[in-house]
Amino acid sequence: MGRLTVFEAKVKPQTPFTVRSEMRGDAAIVTASGHIAEMEAERLGKEINQRIEEGARVIVLDLGDVTFVTSACLGVLMGAHKRLRDSGGLRVARPQPLVRQILEITKLIRLFGAYDSVEDALQAR
């Protein structure tokens, strides 16, 4: 278009994706942030699987700082949930409204829940 920037019209840059986790007893608390699409979902999956291999029987995923998820991310969560189905599964804590809406539309909220805090998610077992 070759258009001069007359009025600012910039798409908000996506918050960068980060993931970290810690063990609490036999539960792993995985805290992610930013935009989780195809590529990020893979990194999230690796983090979760590593914790499962280390012995985590429950995964609590803190989505408080996650702004966006796609079906790729949901697929990873579903994979983890299936692996842990008999020991407690995967639980989601603190989803932002737009992310929570995605869990509702796909009905995955029935499997993962949508807890108000990490503590609530841990105690729900």
């Binding site: 258009r3 001069l4 007359v6 009025f7 019209a9 910039k10 798409v11 908000k12 996506q14 699409a37 195809e38 590529m39 966006f68 796609t70 079906s71 790729a72 949901l74 697929g75 579903m78 994979g79 949930h81 299936k82 737009l98 995605i102 539309i105 796909t106 009905k107 995955l108 029935r110 499997l111």
Partner: protein, 453 residues
């Protein structure tokens, strides 16, 4: 009478001159009397003649003066005609059509020639300038100021998109080149048709109105009239025009003209009238307001120029674009940035942008993974078109296609744990319409603009 008597005397002397010396004496006496009568009459005549001379001089003077007056009136009329001619050049009766806006103008110069000025001009970069101004006063002097202002606006709007900056420069120029008591009021808006945002500055001009059935706003900013002050302190504001909004600008002549009841037409009556008629198209609004105005002033001749301008956004040609990427997920952001920045500029809002981003990611990832099977030699083609009502995105891959009706619904309780199909669910949830071509390698998704019903 004197002559008759005299001839009577000659006649008598012709017959009796020698015989009657007594008669001679009588005749002499009569002659003497007649002479003195003549002298007396002459004496009476002299001042009358003087008076006549005076009267004649006066008459000549009156004739001269009336001739001069006629000439001067002619000159004034000529000047007014010149002024009128110039005014008609400053305010062309037909403005060019500009894609993206629909507008109508009524300009009625008063007999004494006022200083109304208006223009709508294409500034490039999808921006349109909207100017309405009113130079104080009447006649040729006012026309001169109008000329200075007109040229200043024409000059300073080049390569400048801030109405405040343009107005500041015009202020300086008008101050420099006109007398100290000459000034104008002016409103200048710069409307970006790509974003529907209008920046504006109001230099003490009657406030333009933005109205729709659910909106009524008056456009005013900080700042003094133009051409009078070293530091006019102009502010600048911004307003987003929606397709249903009407922008109405006018000059003081409209609201200040008196009717036979000695009441001005007035802002209040205009505002109420606009509120009642703001769903009409611009041409209709201008016509209706002028009818209402005429109804108010009746036979009274307005002493000011009258200008009214109504404008609304008009549907633009669809914006269309096509992006082709190889099957690499990390290139997705290119597509997203191109499409989303356009929608954001159109004020689609956070929720709509979130939905389009999600659907787009799902569709492109599907095309790369399931359509092209991650074969980097195969391309994904995204075409999109944006109108003022909707955004339509199509994503096509070079794979064999699939039958979307054969994909089990993963939101069925029995299917919740299935690995696939959720992308399709999300696309359908966030877009207003999702459809596939027969082969199943191209998906077309439609998202209505948030303001479309």
């Amino acid at each position: 009478m004197t002559r008759e008597r005299h001839s009577g005397v000659s006649h008598a002397s012709g017959e009796d001159a020698v015989s009657a010396p007594e008669d001679v004496r009588i005749l002499q006496a009569e002659l003497k009397e007649a002479r003195s009568e003549i002298a007396r009459l002459r004496a009476l005549l002299a001042p009358l003649q003087e008076e006549l001379k005076g009267l004649q001089a006066t008459r000549q003077e009156v004739e001269r003066l009336s001739h001069e007056l006629e000439q001067q009136t002619g000159r004034i009329e000529q000047q007014l005609a010149v002024a009128r001619q110039f005014q008609s050049l400053f305010n062309p009766p037909a403005l060019p059509e500009i894609e993206g806006v629909s507008f109508a103008i009524r300009y009625e110069p008063c007999r004494l020639v006022g200083g109304d000025l208006y223009d709508i001009f294409d500034m490039g970069n999808s921006c349109v300038g909207i100017l309405v101004a009113d130079v104080a006063g009447h006649g040729l002097a006012t026309t001169l100021v109008t000329a200075v202002a007109r040229m200043a606006f024409d000059t300073f709007r080049q390569n400048e998109y801030s109405p405040r900056v343009i107005m500041e420069k015009v202020n300086t120029q008008v101050m420099r080149h006109t007398l100290s008591n000459q000034f104008l009021t002016a409103f200048l808006g710069v409307l970006d048709l790509e974003t529907s945002r209008m920046k504006y500055v109001n230099a003490a001009h009657p406030r333009p109105v933005v109205c729709a059935p659910d909106r009524f706003e008056l456009l005013d900013t900080e700042g003094l009239c133009c051409g009078m002050f070293e530091e006019p302190r102009y502010g600048e504001k911004e307003i987003v025009l929606r397709p249903t909004d009407r922008l109405i600008l006018f000059t003081r002549g409209l609201i200040d003209s008196f009717g036979p009841d000695c009441q001005p037409y007035g802002e209040a009556r205009l505002h109420a009238f606009l509120k009642a008629h703001c769903d009409a198209p611009p041409a209709e609004i201008v016509k209706l307001v002028m009818e209402d105005f005429r109804g108010h002033i009746g036979q009274t001749e307005p002493t000011e120029d009258i200008t009214i301008l109504a404008l609304s956004l008009a549907p633009r040609r669809a914006f269309e674009d096509r992006i082709v990427i190889p099957s690499e997920p990390q290139l997705l952001h290119r597509i997203e940035n191109r499409i989303l920045s356009r929608l954001e500029a159109l004020n689609y809002g956070e929720r709509a942008l979130f939905g389009v981003r999600l659907a787009l990611e799902e569709a492109v990832i599907n095309a790369i993974k399931h359509g092209n099977k991650m074969d980097k030699a195969k391309k994904v083609t995204v075409t999109y078109s944006i109108t003022d009502k909707e955004c339509v995105i199509s994503v096509e891959d070079e794979g064999e296609g699939f039958d979307p009706s054969a994909v089990p619904d993963p939101t069925d309780d029995a299917n919740l744990e299935l690995p696939h199909g959720r992308g399709l669910v999300l696309m359908r949830a966030y877009m207003d319409e999702v459809s596939y071509n027969e082969k199943g390698n191209r998906v077309v998704m439609r998202k209505k603009a948030p303001w479309a019903d």
